[in-house]
Each structure stands twice: as C-alpha cells, then as structure tokens.
C-alpha cells in the first residue's frame, strides 16, 4: 500500500507541480485545475459495497458535510467524482466571492480584539470612562436617568463608540451567511463542530467581545489542521482564558488581603481541558491530575486589550521591550500574556509525567501537547467526530480505526475524516438518515435547498433560537449535545413545522424565496406534482412515495407554498 502511495506521489509531483502533498494526501494547489482535469484522490469511498448508487452516495455525502444540498448539487458532485469533491472540501480554499460580497456590509468582522475593545466597549466601561473623562458627574447619575442617558449617548457618539450588541449582531449574521453561501462547506461545518467542542458563550460578559476573533483566528484556520495546534490556540485565546477563568489562576499568594481580586489557583480550565477538550470524562485522570495541571497553567493570561485596560494595568508593561519581557520569563504573544510572577514554579506531576520545579510558560505548552496525544484523547475526539457525521451511537470498530489514524498522523484532522469516510460504517444503512438535523441545520438547509436570498439574517437567526439553538449563547462549556433526543421534543418539533410554513410562505422578514423559479417558472399542476418536484429539491435521492400518497390528497386545493412548508416540517426533512 505504501508503495502505491509513494508512486502516486511521484506521478503527481511530475505533473508540473500543480499539486503539493499534505501529509500523505494529495491535495490540489488550485481547485480550478482539479475541476478541469479530474484527478481522483488516493482513497475510495466504499458506497457500492453498501448497496448505494453514486447519486445516493453523493446525497449522503452532501447531507453530512454541508449544510444541505443546493439544487443540482448532487449532479455536480457525481460529475466531479465523490472523492474529488471531498478532497476539495478538505482543501477548503475555493473562492468565496458570493459570501465575501454579502459580508462586506458588516464592518466589525475584521476587527482585532484591540479594535473591538476600543470600538465596542462594555456598557459598564462606557460609564466609567465617561466619569473618568469628566463628562458625567458621578453624583448626577442618581438624579436624572433620562438626562444621563442622553449625555452618555452623546459621549459614545463623540468617541466613536458603538453598542456591544451591534458587534454580536454582526457576528451572528456572519454565521448564517457563511453557512448558507460559502463554497467551503466542510470548513464551515467543522468550524461549527470545533466551536461547539471548545465552547465559549456570549452570555459570559468577560469573554463575549473576544468571541468573534476566537472563531475567526483560532477555530476556523485550524478546523482542518492539527488537533494539538487547535488545542494550544484555544488555550491561549482571550475568549477561552476568560470563559473558563484561567486568566485569574495564579500560584497561591501569601498575605493577600485584596478582596477585589480573587487570588490563587482556579481549576476550571484545567478540569475542562481534560474532561471536555481532550481525554473525556472517563479518560483516566484524577482530581489530583486536575489540580496539578491547573498549577502548570498558572500565569496564563491576557495582555491588556484596549485603551481602557491598557491605561490601567499595562503602563509598566508598555515600558518594557520585548527583550525585557522575555528575559523575565514573561511571554507576550498577540493577546496572550504569560505572567511569570503568577506562575507556580514548584514541581508538578500530571498523568505520571513530571514537570520539574522552575519551569515556566513552556511546561504549559508541553502539558497541552501531552494531552493532545493521549490515546484517550484520540478516542474521545474520534468518537465525537463520528457522532457528528455518522450517527448518535457510532460503532466501536469505526472509532477505533479513526483513533488509530489520529495517533499515527499526529492528530491530523483531515486524515481522521478521510479514514471515517473511507470506512464501510459511514455508508452503512445504519448510518443513512440517522442523524437528526439541529435547528441551525434545518434552517440553513431549507434556505440552501430553495436558493433563498438572506438579506437580513437576524429574523432567520431568531427562528433558529425558537427551534432551540441560540447560536453562540449556550452557557455550558460542554457545548450543545449532539444527539437527536436533545433537539427533538414536544415544543421544539412544533416550532420546526411552523418554521417550514413561515419560510415557504415568505413570512420570514429579510429572506426571499422564489419557489416558481425552482421549477423553471412553472406552477405545478397538482398538489401531488408539487410534492414530487419540491420533494426532490428539498430531499434529493430520498424515497417520498409514502409522503406523496398520504399528504397529496389532503393538500388538494392548497397553495404551493404550503406544500413546500409541509415538506420542510415533515419528519423526513428533520433527518440528514
């Protein structure tokens, strides 16, 4: 097998340098080249053995690795070849003009954390700054609320400050638009997957403003990279440092009387990094390991971000050159700051590994690397990926194979995905249509299938919330549970049906659907015909004869929109 791969590599390399090798997998430098020449990747999907036609397999592939097939997309995938389509998705570098164009109206999306802090200060901060700048007399705050609000508003306008809510609105909008229109669908799906895995929440004020950059700079660029890098970057991000409180964790301080600032060890991050991010709850670590890991990670914090924070703490930091910072054992890396003075310099033992006394920043990096490469981590992550893409209860044989790849390929996420899709379990009848769509997948899937035009994403976002998934606001570090029984219950199911009706009837503001355009401008002649035509668009390659038979007659004189709404709210559309 190895020989074959090597030979293939030589052949590819000989083809004029159009391809480069990433690990063992050949990936095209430019997808345009591939679309013309159709060089298949070096793996094969065993769908025929599972009794699937190529079209059925393409539909399955699209249902798992995109937010839903667009009209004609099954054909496109078949034409390109399933493996080639998947390779392009793994490469994730298709031009995205359409989504880029839609995102230009959102000016906050490209801001650094520093710029965010200076443009969208927290509400409480604005008031403190206004008092500091003498715009508001702190005693007047008591007297006239309305007047004080006006003054504050003027102050914000003068300073060019905007409300924090606006930042979050733009951030939520971009998620909807990318999911609906990005060509690099797998990248969006995996970004969602890892965000949920390394969950942070807008509900927590301290970390909220840093979440847009967290998704943009930490999650998305590493969503198809190596797990250990992803882990390290989340650990060092302000969003995670604030969300799980590691920024405050320090070696115990003697004689500390300051009540304002809780000093000492905080185990929250250390516990969750083992339980939720790497080893899993049964990953074989003890409370002692948690405490020791927390000690290793003391001093990991955030460099003051924004003028307001800098005016306070950073005055002295700013006087130091990078060299001076480094000489003191401090580390300043972007927004990350390692404060050697807060670090516990004693000896620690985690999972039997000794971190000798006198260590600094590097021992935290070593700890995270060690966690990323544990067999328990390989299994835990592989299982979670399989739950996302195969079924709520994936077979052990599949997880073992994926975990083996994870270990052998140094946590290369692309390789783990390839192993999964190349396994018969992925194509098994036990996996087909077994996953229940999340509310987000229902909403975006319907928009994609109907070529919907999202002008204003918030009304659609609010529908997703009503169906039970308020994106970016899940409080717990576990992230949303990824299983049908979580999403489907009495209340949420009715909302899914109502969503289908509202969408198809054009009752969701800011979202345009042209149903007739999907049928070349023709109105179907009967409800049965409508069910057939639009059933095929919304649910390609599914057997809908039962649906047509049962519902067709009931819809006798009902409009086209209602018929489409019923397909979206039907049980079949809830499955992927």
């Amino acid at each position: 097998m190895k020989v074959v791969i090597k030979m293939a590599a030589v052949v590819l390399a000989a083809m004029g340098g159009y391809f480069l090798l990433s690990g063992f997998m050949a990936v095209p430098v430019s997808p345009h080249v591939l679309s013309g020449t159709r060089i298949p990747p070096l793996y094969h999907f065993p769908y025929r053995q599972a009794g699937l036609t190529e079209r059925q397999a393409a539909a399955h592939l699209l249902s798992r690795f995109t937010y839903g097939a667009r009209p004609g997309e099954v054909d496109a995938v078949v034409q390109m070849g399933l493996e080639s389509w998947f390779a392009r998705q793994l490469e994730a570098s298709l031009p995205d003009d359409s989504v880029d164009r839609r995102l230009t109206q959102y000016d906050a999306l490209t801001l650094t954390n520093e710029e965010v802090a200076n443009t969208y200060p927290r509400n409480g901060q604005v008031l403190r700054m206004a008092i500091r700048d003498g715009v508001i007399d702190k005693d007047s705050v008591k007297v006239d609320r309305a007047a004080y609000r006006d003054v504050l508003q003027n102050y914000m306008q003068e300073k060019g400050y905007k409300r924090e809510q606006e930042l979050f609105r733009q951030f939520c909008c971009q998620k909807m638009l990318r999911a609906a229109y990005s060509e690099n669908q797998l990248l969006e799906v995996m970004t969602d997957f890892w965000f949920n895995h390394f969950n942070v929440s807008i509900t927590k004020n301290d970390c909220a403003e840093f979440i847009p950059a967290y998704e943009r700079d930490v999650i998305r660029p590493n969503a198809l990279g190596r797990f250990n890098e992803l882990l390290l970057k989340t650990a060092k991000s302000p969003a995670m440092l604030y969300y799980l409180d590691n920024f405050i964790s320090s070696a115990p301080v003697q004689n500390d009387t300051s009540a304002q600032r809780a000093r000492g060890l905080n185990e929250n991050y250390a516990r969750e990094v083992m339980e939720l991010h790497t080893l899993g709850v049964d990953g074989g670590y003890t409370q002692q390991d948690v405490t020791e890991a927390a000690r290793v990670l003391t001093g990991w914090g955030v460099y003051p971000i924004g003028e307001f924070a800098k005016a306070g703490r950073a005055a002295q930091l700013n006087r130091w050159t990078d060299e001076q910072i480094a000489r003191r054992g401090f580390v300043h890396d972007g927004d990350f700051f390692f404060n050697a003075n807060r670090h516990d310099k004693g000896e620690k033992v985690v999972l039997g590994h000794v971190f000798p006394a006198g260590g600094g920043y590097q021992e935290g990096v070593d700890l995270l690397n060690m966690l990323a490469h544990q067999p328990a981590t390989a299994k835990f992550i592989s299982r979670k990926i399989a739950v996302r893409f195969v079924s709520d209860d994936p077979p052990a044989s599949l997880i073992d194979r994926m975990a083996k790849t994870f270990m052998e390929r140094n946590g290369d996420i692309r390789q783990v995905l390839i192993t999964m899709v190349s396994a018969p379990e992925f194509w098994s009848p036990l996996a087909l249509r077994e996953k229940t769509k999340s509310p987000f997948e229902v909403a975006i899937g319907a928009v994609r299938a109907l070529n919907g035009d999202i002008r204003q994403p918030m009304p659609l976002y609010n529908w997703v919330t009503r169906m039970g998934e308020k994106e970016y606001y899940y409080m717990a570090p576990t992230g949303y549970p990824d299983r049908g029984t979580y999403w489907i219950n009495t209340g949420s199911l009715l909302n899914r049906m109502n969503f289908g009706l509202a969408l198809a009837e054009g009752q969701i503001p800011g979202l345009q659907i042209n149903l007739l355009a999907l049928n070349n401008g023709h109105e179907p002649e009967s409800a049965e015909a409508a069910l057939q035509v639009y059933g095929r668009i919304l649910l390609p390659e599914r057997d809908l004869t039962a649906t047509e038979k049962r519902v067709g007659p009931m819809l006798y004189d009902k409009g086209l929109a209602e018929t489409v709404g019923i397909i979206i709210g039907s049980p079949e559309f809830q499955r992927r």
Binding site: K142, D206, T465, T490, L494, M497
Partner: protein, 424 residues
C-alpha cells in the same frame, strides 16, 4: 374531546389503566427506569422556581433595620423603619427584619405562615461573576463547570414515578435555562399560545397543515420523530381545548402586565389544566443595580413590586390548587453592604430568597445574619453566605416533590437540609 387519558392511547401501559401507576409490573418498571414513559402522571405537586437574574440586593429587600452599621454604610439607600416621614417605610416583620414596602403583597402571606424567607443564602463558591454564579447555582455544582445537567433536570429524573407528560417540566422562557439542561425531557416556551401550528393570516391553511403534519409524523418509522410528533399533537390539542386567550384568573387575581406576571399566569393555567406539570421555571430580570438603585421609588422598588405582586396574584389565582404548589425564588448572589459611588450597590455574596407554600414553615426569617460590622463581613465588604443554597433547594425538593436522593440532585454536596419546610 381529548382528555388526559389521550396520552395513554397507543401505549402498552394503557391496558393497565391509571390505577396501576403506583405498582407497575417488574418488566415494565425496568423499561421505564431506562427511559421514562411519556404518558400522563397526575403529579399534583408543582415546584415553581423563579430566577432573579442580576443578583438581588437582599439587604434592601429584607432589611435588618436596627443594624446601625448598615445605616452607616448606606446613607442614601436606607428606608425608615417607622412610618411617619416622607415616603414609605419598611414593613416590620418581627422587630428585627423589615420588608421593603414594594414587597407589601408578601406581608399577609408571611403573617399567615405560608411565606418563609432565608437570609444570607448563597453559594460556597465566592465568584462575583453573574455568569459563573448563575451557572453554578443552576447546575447545582458550585465548583464544577463541566456538569452537563441542571439541578431541575435531575430533579425531573428523580420524580418518584415512572411516567412523564410533555408538560412535566416547563420553562416559560424563550430559551432553555441552564437549570433545565440535561437528559430528561423539558420544554421551554415563552407563550403557550405558540403551542400550535400557525400560519399568519390563514387559519384554515394552518388546520390543513396541522392535519398533514400529524399524518406524516404518524406514518414515519417508529422512533424519536414518530413519538415526539404524536406527543406534540396530543399536547397541542389539549392546550387548544383551554381558551388560553380569554383566561380569567380566579378570585379576581390581577397579574402585573410584566414578563414575570405573564409567565406566572401561564404556569397557573397549566396547573389548572392538569396536564401533569411538576417543575416550572421562569425568570425576572433587572436586579443588577449598580446605578441609581433607588429606595421606595426607582428600579429596585419597581422590581420588588413586580416580583411580589406577580407571585401574590399567582397564589390567589391558584385557588384550590394552592396545596399542591410551592414557589421558590433564587438569585445568584447579593450585593455589597456599602452603597457605591453611583447610587447603587456592587456584586456581593449573600442574598435572601422567598419560599411560598402551604407546606412551608413560613412566617419566619431563617438564616444566620450577623451584625454588619466590618469584621463580620465576607472579604470585609459583603453579607457573608451562611446558608448554602443547596441546603434550601434540597429541603424544598424533598418536602414538596419527595426527592431525597441528594447525591444525584447535588453531587459533591455534604450538608444538612435547611429546616424551612413543615415536617411530615
């Protein structure tokens, strides 16, 4: 006419009838233990929890009015203990504690012995972050972030019977609260009227759509979607029977036209419809009074008036159902003893909570609140937490819902239940 028995339809248990609920045959109990069956359980005991988000100033709600340290710390935030001056005064409960005048609707309930107050309640974790403190209080594990479930979801799992209805646990909130996260089925809904198939401006179309959906979910392969579909439509029909829109509260009860008032009104409707509600949740916002807290007027006064008037109207409206219902409030922490520079108070530690019910050992302010001299304060600034919230929550869950497995309800907690409920 759909009745509660509708839930039994099509279930294997229907053969055994309602009478057998207490003594289910072994093989069925085994199946039920794995996954509780969704069918009617006439619970008849309802715990209603109200989360006051933002951290209520317990010292202003229920004031130790003769504490001179407090008066000195809050020159601008104190109310007179005795009537006579300008504005209203505190309501003297027992010679030591004074109820904020905005809470006057609570006074009769307290005097009748139905309303109990716990002062100095809070979390052993001294975080002063709203997010963390709410998270810990709702998960019920103050030192563990990764607890996936909320304490009320675990409570649902511990209900001493093997059946649930779609309405066993209902949160009148737009999104599922942290307290409800978990394995057991719970519902979040902001308005009961939304529990229907809706098509704006086209009720006839909505009817046809509803019938079509019911058909489709009925014909789909057995499993999650099939079952949830069936429950949804039965639940929907059940609610449609009641004239939700034209509901008239009993005994002339008048709910404040506020989010909390509306939520409690709908919880009362569910209780009266007898749909098997056992755990209800809702919330009240706006308690984070850093600025302009006010005294007998202002934000705080409006908030407490809304809280007490909503709860009092709910209680009045419950009428004959009062015996089955206990209401408990909670808030993530209290506020600083000293007023701050902007006419408000900052994040503190201990606060107080209210428990209302006929099985509450009420008419008393529980807890162990010291004199508020600097040396008695937590970190030199806050009302110390002297009662762990879990000792109160578990006491209420035990007495009212007959849930005694504290290891599951509050893992990691070692302590004794607060004696806030009547014995027996």
């Amino acid at each position: 006419m759909i009745t509660r028995r509708g839930f039994l339809k099509g279930s294997g248990l229907a053969l055994f009838g309602v009478g057998l609920m207490g003594g289910i045959p072994g093989f069925l109990a085994e199946a039920a233990a794995r996954d509780k069956r969704l069918m009617l359980y006439k619970g008849k005991r309802v715990l209603v929890c109200i989360f006051q988000r933002g951290a209520m100033d317990g010292l202003m709600a229920v004031t130790p009015f003769s504490d001179t340290w407090l008066q000195a710390a809050r020159p601008g935030l104190s109310l007179p203990a005795v009537a006579g001056g300008r504005g209203s005064s505190l309501i003297d409960l027992d010679g030591r504690w004074g109820l904020h005048p905005g809470l006057k609707a609570f006074e009769p309930l307290f005097r009748e012995g139905r309303l109990g107050i716990v002062h100095g309640i809070g979390s052993p974790n001294n975080t002063r972050s709203h997010f963390d403190a709410q998270d810990y209080m709702e998960s019920g594990t103050p030192f563990n972030k990764g607890t996936a479930s909320g304490w009320l979801n675990r409570a649902v799992g511990l209900l001493g019977h093997d059946t649930l209805t779609p309405f066993t646990a209902v949160s009148l909130t737009p999104a599922l609260p942290r307290s409800f996260y978990g394995e057991h089925p719970t519902v979040a809904i902001s308005n009961l009227q939304d529990f229907a198939i809706q098509l704006k401006g086209n009720p006839a179309g909505a009817n046809v759509a509803a019938k079509s959906f019911e058909e489709l979910y009925d014909q789909t392969s057995p499993g999650l979607l099939h079952n949830a579909g069936k429950e949804s439509f039965e639940a929907m029909k059940l609610l449609q029977q009641a004239d939700l829109r034209n509901y008239v509260p009993a005994n002339g009860a008048v709910y404040p036209n506020s989010p909390l008032g509306n939520s409690l009104r709908q919880i009362a409707q569910l209780i009266k419809m007898d749909v098997g509600l056992e755990v209800a949740f809702t919330e009240s916002n706006g308690w984070d009074t850093h600025f302009n807290q006010g005294t007998d007027n202002g934000i705080f006064a409006r908030n407490v008036a809304d809280l007490s008037n909503s709860i009092a109207a709910f209680w009045r409206d419950l009428d004959a159902n009062q015996d089955y219902v206990t209401v408990m409030t909670m808030t993530e922490f209290g506020r600083t003893v000293h007023q701050n520079g902007t006419g408000g108070t900052d994040h503190g530690r201990g606060s107080c909570n209210f428990i209302l019910g006929n099985n509450v050992a009420g008419g008393k302010v529980y807890g162990n609140v010291p004199e508020l001299a600097m040396e008695n304060l937590e970190d030199g600034r806050d009302l110390p937490v002297t009662t762990d919230f879990r000792s109160v929550f578990s006491a209420v869950a035990d007495a009212h819902l007959r849930i005694s497995d504290d290891k599951v309800l509050f893992p990691d907690w070692v302590g004794s239940k607060a004696g806030v409920m009547k014995v027996g």
